[in-house]
């Protein structure tokens, strides 16, 4: 599996990072080196191995379904680059 410029452009779009055209080639090179290196995992037979999602062998706890926090609108908005009328403000989405 090899990554080309078009693939870098596609994943950069998925990640919402603007990567300039002239950097695509060198990033593709970096990614290919890393992917070639991690490919050694294919040596290991993992057919009967369960994937690990957490090292913690505990069940997620449940709690009462009640409101236990809130009323912090101003604190939540405090760090926003732009707010309007108590909301986060973003560039126009609908024409």
């Amino acid at each position: 599996m090899s990554v080309d410029k078009e693939t870098v452009a596609r994943i950069a779009h998925l990640a919402r990072i603007n990567v300039p055209e002239e950097s695509l080639e060198s990033i593709a090179g970096d990614l290919n080196n890393i992917l070639a290196w991690v490919d050694q995992l294919s040596e290991v037979n993992t057919d009967d191995v369960e994937p690990m999602t957490s090292v913690v062998h505990a069940r997620l706890r449940q709690r009462e379904d009640v409101v236990n926090d809130g009323g912090k609108r101003d604190a939540v908005l405090k760090n926003a680059p732009e707010t309007e009328h108590g909301f986060f403000a973003v560039p126009k989405v609908l024409e």
């Binding site: 990640a15 919402r16 603007n18 970096d30 993992t46 191995v49 760090n79």
Partner: protein
């Protein structure tokens, strides 16, 4: 007379108890040290007024007989911990101006116990790196310089934490460890650093890198200091769903010095063919020290060790790509305008993230994307199961595992900058324990031929930090590491 800033945490606490000095005096000495040590570039934000206020409160609590276990001890806080009302950057441009409205659980625990905040210290951007060179606020220099006088990196990602403690600009510091980010900088700076069991310290309020691996821990000047500080940091927290509800033992009480009959495993897979001779010699020396203290040495095998790093470099970037999706120019930090919502996102993230963070987000996005998920991410999760099983199997026959911490002493700035993989190889001995979630500690054990510190690592069973600390205490005593860096940063030789 010993300078106040030269005291260990345990000795400073004794001095405070004994009324030899006050926390305000101790804190004033540290504030001066921080101001005099700016050429190291460890601190991203200094909070001297807050420090003196907290110190005065600690003195009052001591006078009232209500002092907590860390009352009056000045600390540096890794700038990955959210601190209420104090700039928190993760050393990234994208968090410009972010001042949290809340305090992380771990720092809350430290303040509850009376500790004092000197300020926030630098890290590799979003904790991604092994040299502290990827910080938006510039590289941090290691207080230790090689015999040739050339500068060295402090390690990473907790490089600011380690540099601040090594230069006596804080009694101790908080760090975080995802693949070695506490243990490797501790090794590079001649300090003690412990990564607790995953789930021992709350991750709440610590800016996330790879959530299944991230774990807070202390960087200190001695094993006893590590025991004291871990006791304050640790504990169950309902706000972290992976926090484990088990009592926090008295870690300092575990330092009995008695390891007779304890079984120490030596994993053959860590004996890398190309490891420097001085690293292997120090490891052999560590074996001899533990043997002399009455421990039994056992050869063990962790057969999937060589797959740990490639596994990590799939799992960690995948989680990072997901965690860092929240930086979108809307809720906090930097916003770079664009002509649409999407272009605002893409412009903000392009300008806000550095090269290494971008590289890892792209790798993570790729391995999670349609068509590649099974081949990379699922495969890595399966390898992670095998790596964790290696440790479970090993702990059937031993109590702790002894290894080197890092494959070299601190390297020079720029040395591993051209090749991401050569930088990643720094974590070859620390990453397996992170993937398995087991605790690990680095103890300064000797000097390289170049006069730089070298660390030994002890790994333990899950939630058995007590045994890890006990053995670490024995190694510390045997190694008797008393070397200090030459003070080039203030010119003060006293």
């Amino acid at each position: 007379m010993t300078k106040l800033t030269d005291l260990s945490m345990a000795d400073a606490l004794a001095g405070l108890d004994n009324k030899d000095f006050t926390s305000v005096e101790l804190t004033e000495a540290y504030v001066a040290a921080v101001e005099g040590g700016t050429s190291i570039n460890a601190y991203t934000t200094q909070t001297p007024e807050k420090a003196l206020e907290m110190a005065a409160a600690a003195d009052a609590s001591r006078a009232a007989g209500t002092a907590g276990p860390m009352a009056g001890i000045p600390l540096a806080i890794k700038d990955l911990y959210c601190t209420e009302g104090v700039l928190t950057t993760a050393s990234s441009h994208i968090l410009d101006g972010f001042t949290p409205a809340y305090e992380s659980t771990v720092t809350s625990n430290l303040w509850r116990d009376g500790a004092v905040m000197l300020g926030k210290v630098s890290l590799d951007e979003f904790a991604m790196g092994s040299s502290n060179e990827t910080s938006f606020y510039g590289a941090v220099e290691n207080p230790w310089r090689a015999g040739d006088g050339k500068s060295r990196v402090p390690g990473g990602s907790s490089g600011g934490s380690a540099a601040a403690v090594a230069a006596h600009m804080a009694v101790a510091a908080t760090g975080t460890d995802t693949g070695g980010s506490i243990r490797q900088p501790a090794s590079f700076c001649g300090l003690v650093g412990i990564k607790p069991t995953y789930g021992r310290c709350s991750r709440w309020g610590v800016i996330a890198f790879a959530s299944s691996l991230d774990q807070p821990g202390p960087i200190t000047r001695s094993v006893k200091d590590a025991a004291i500080m871990l006791g304050s940091m640790a504990g169950y927290d309902a706000k972290d769903s992976t926090s484990i509800d088990t009592p926090v033992p008295d870690y300092a009480a575990a330092l009995t010095g008695d390891i007779r009959g304890l079984k120490v495993g030596i994993p053959k897979e860590y004996r890398l063919d190309d490891a420097p001779a001085e690293i292997l010699a120090l490891w052999d020396q560590g074996v001899d020290w533990l043997k002399a203290a009455g421990a039994e040495i056992i050869d063990i095998s962790l057969p999937h060790t060589k797959y740990a790093l490639p596994t990590y470099y799939i799992v960690a970037p995948a989680e990072a790509s997901s965690n860092l999706a929240r930086y979108d120019g809307v809720k906090y930090g930097l916003r770079v305008p664009g002509d649409s919502l999407d272009s605002m996102y893409a412009n903000t993230r392009a300008e806000g993230f550095g090269d290494e963070v971008t590289r890892r987000i792209l790798i993570g996005t790729y391995v999670l994307s349609a068509g590649y998920y099974d081949a990379y991410y699922l495969k890595a999760q399966k390898l992670r199961t095998l790596i964790a099983q290696d440790f479970e199997n090993a702990y059937a026959s031993c109590d702790v595992i002894l290894t080197p911490t890092a494959p070299s002493a601190a390297f020079g700035p720029g040395e591993n900058a051209d090749d991401p993989i050569s930088m990643y190889l720094n974590d070859v001995f620390t990453v397996p324990a992170s993937l398995a979630g087991v605790p690990g500690i680095s103890i300064p054990a000797g000097l390289s031929g170049d006069g730089l510190p070298l660390g030994l690592q002890l790994l333990g069973k899950p939630f058995d930090e007590e045994t890890v600390l006990r053995v670490a205490g024995v190694l510390e005593e045997a190694a008797n590491f008393t070397a200090q860096p030459n003070n080039w940063w203030t010119g003060d030789k006293s």
